[in-house]
């Protein structure tokens, strides 16, 4: 159902919605960027339509609304553990199509992988509706079209931002109720059809080639380039990894909590076992572990690629490592390996 709203009317409805919903959208945090006088755009609750940053890509993905960077999962006292509680307010998130598709990617892991649902993700996810922000141009590092994630249909509403108002396509019946006195207007959401960056998806035929790729010298350059800061994986909309830690209160060590925090295969210690054994010993190893997961390993398990082509990892890398260029190098390496017979090991 299409509607055309002035900003004033849109804000009035937003205020009505806020009684039932927490509303998250990409918001500007001035001078909080990593260089002087630069901003950060990240997801936070909004009070007005004008607060939504529409003309720039958000620095971070909306995943942190559903999976906070740090989250207390259990409280413990002596011989008892208890789950953290949560209020029952519903959630609306303004997201671009690639980010909506990234939800599906994370959810194959958080919901169902191995027959287990992540309790904390699921209880939040059940309260969430997506408002898709129309995205027709993208930015220089985007390659959603190559990844097939430029379109999304599973939204409660879609929005186009105009100078003095918004156009909406509201699919969700509950949301439609808020627009009873708004004049209907035809609106069909559009999608981006081509990016500046085009990526050819790597095709790795079998395990033998996969293991030959792991040993290929293409990864060596990342030993000197990657600094293992993990900025790429924090910004990534599809990275799911976390580590749990226990902490206790200084005034009573028998009371405390178990938290989980984003972790990353890029940072030191991710695969370090008790006793000090480490499997991926160099940044070449950690880089290929991440890259192959995004464009091969995940697909082997779940049937679809993990990467959605949002380009945030490239945007955030302080060493200017471009993910799309890395895939290009990977394609060259695969070609090289497939063209000469792999030696029997």
């Amino acid at each position: 159902m299409g509607f055309s709203l002035s900003l004033e009317k849109a804000n009035a409805i937003l205020n009505e919605l806020k009684k039932e919903y927490r509303i998250y959208a990409p918001k500007r945090f001035e001078k909080q960027g990593r260089y002087s006088d630069t901003d950060i755009i990240r997801y936070d609750e909004i009070d007005s339509i004008e607060e939504i940053v529409t003309g720039e890509k958000s620095t971070y993905s909306p995943k942190e609304v559903l999976f906070p960077i740090t989250q207390t999962i259990l409280y413990f006292t002596e011989d008892e553990y208890r789950e953290t509680k949560m209020d029952d307010k519903k959630i609306l998130i303004f997201m671009r199509p690639c980010d909506i598709n990234a939800r599906k990617v994370q959810e194959r892991i958080y919901m169902g992988n191995g027959g287990f649902d992540d309790f904390y993700y699921k209880r939040l996810r059940e309260k969430v509706k997506f408002v898709m922000m129309e995205c027709t141009k993208g930015w220089d590092t985007c390659f959603c079209v190559s990844m097939g994630t430029n379109k999304a249909t599973n939204y409660a509403a879609a929005v186009r931002f105009l100078e003095d108002g918004i156009l909406l396509d509201v699919k969700d019946e509950e949301l439609q109720g808020y627009f009873a006195d708004v004049a209907k207007a035809p609106f069909e959401v559009e999608f981006i059809e081509g990016n500046e960056t085009v990526v050819e998806l790597p095709q790795i035929p079998d395990k033998k080639v996969l293991n030959a790729i792991k040993a290929h010298p293409m990864w060596d350059e990342y030993n000197s380039r990657c600094i293992a800061c993990g900025a790429c994986t924090i910004a990534c909309g599809t990275c799911t990894c976390f580590t749990t830690t226990d902490l206790f209160y200084t005034q009573n060590a028998n009371v405390g909590e178990r938290r989980r925090t984003y972790s990353s295969c890029q940072i030191d210690g991710f695969d370090e076992m008790a006793g000090g054994l480490i499997f991926r010993k160099s940044y070449a190893d950690t880089m290929r572990y991440k890259v192959l997961h995004k464009v091969h390993d995940y697909k082997e398990r779940f049937g679809e690629n993990m990467c959605v082509g949002c380009g945030r990892c490239t945007d955030r890398c302080p060493q200017f490592i471009s993910f799309s260029h890395t895939i290009e190098k990977l394609n060259h390496a695969i070609k090289e390996i497939c063209e000469q017979p792999v030696s029997q090991s």
Partner: protein, 264 residues
């Protein structure tokens, strides 16, 4: 009400058996009945969680044999009978009971690697008809590292055994790595009706499996058990992933045909 799979349950420690200086077996009160080779998440509040294989289980109890190597395990060594441990699980894929049943069983272990196969060996002792024969090669670094001394004695009486220390020379024990004793396994006599289980540090498993192949074993008749860092044990946290495989879900036990291609 949604079930929270990461909620641990309190369990009382009934007994602590000091196997050697660095390895203790904790017996806890529990009704959980894991499959042979599965693991559980053990936690101590304030310290954290660690994945540990059950080394034994029976009516109302579970045994965990633990080496003090990490943060959680070090803290555990300060616990006493009557104290609480917290458990969730059991998780993962254990030893392939159907592939072992009725066959010649070969078990090759390095160090604490004996713990994840101990419950299976107990089954072989208690149910002699379960397998045709048992051949054990068990290696430890030195005399101080020997585990389950009483069990090793009863294995010696009932099964074919080769016990070896890497360096130390003591009575009744061979000297050298387990790989050096693989040629003592009468693989040819097993007429393709055998299962070889290998557990120990990654390097030990790799070279032991290669040695088995050299001595005529088939890849599909060998199984190994992996250990990796884990936070969740339910396929969410990502720490234990190798390629498309999650060690916590698809392992820890893998057939060698699959395991040989898994490069971390």
């Amino acid at each position: 009400m949604i079930i929270n799979p990461v909620m641990p349950k309190p369990c009382k420690i009934i007994d602590i058996i000091r196997e050697n200086k660095n390895e203790y077996t904790f017996r806890v009160e529990s009704d959980i009945t894991p499959e042979h080779g599965q693991f559980l998440q053990l936690s101590i509040p304030k310290v954290g969680e660690a994945p540990i294989s059950a080394s034994g289980f029976g009516d109302g109890y579970l045994d965990f044999t633990i080496r003090s190597v990490g943060k959680v395990t070090n803290e555990m060594f300060a616990l006493k009978p009557g104290d609480m441990l917290f458990l969730r699980g059991a998780y993962g894929v254990g030893w392939p009971i159907e592939e072992i049943s009725g066959k010649h069983l070969v078990v090759i272990t390095g160090g604490t690697g004996l713990a994840p196969v101990k419950s299976l060996l107990s089954k072989c002792l208690n149910e002699p008809e379960f397998v045709k024969s048992v051949f054990i090669i068990s290696g430890f670094k030195n005399e101080d590292g020997i585990l389950f001394k009483n069990d090793l004695e009863s294995y010696k009486k009932n099964f074919k055994t080769v016990y070896s220390l890497d360096i130390d020379k003591i009575d009744g024990w061979e000297v050298g790595f387990v790989t050096e004793h693989v040629n003592k396994i009468p693989i040819k006599d097993y007429e393709d009706n055998y299962a070889i289980l290998v557990v120990g540090p990654p390097v030990m498993m790799k070279f032991t499996a290669l040695e088995c192949l050299k001595n005529g074993a088939k890849e599909e008749n060998i199984w190994v058990s992996f250990e990796r860092k884990m936070s969740c044990a339910i396929g969410k946290c990502g720490h234990c992933r190798i390629d498309e495989v999650y060690v916590c879900l698809d392992g820890p036990v893998f057939n060698y045909k699959q395991a040989k291609d898994l490069v971390d």
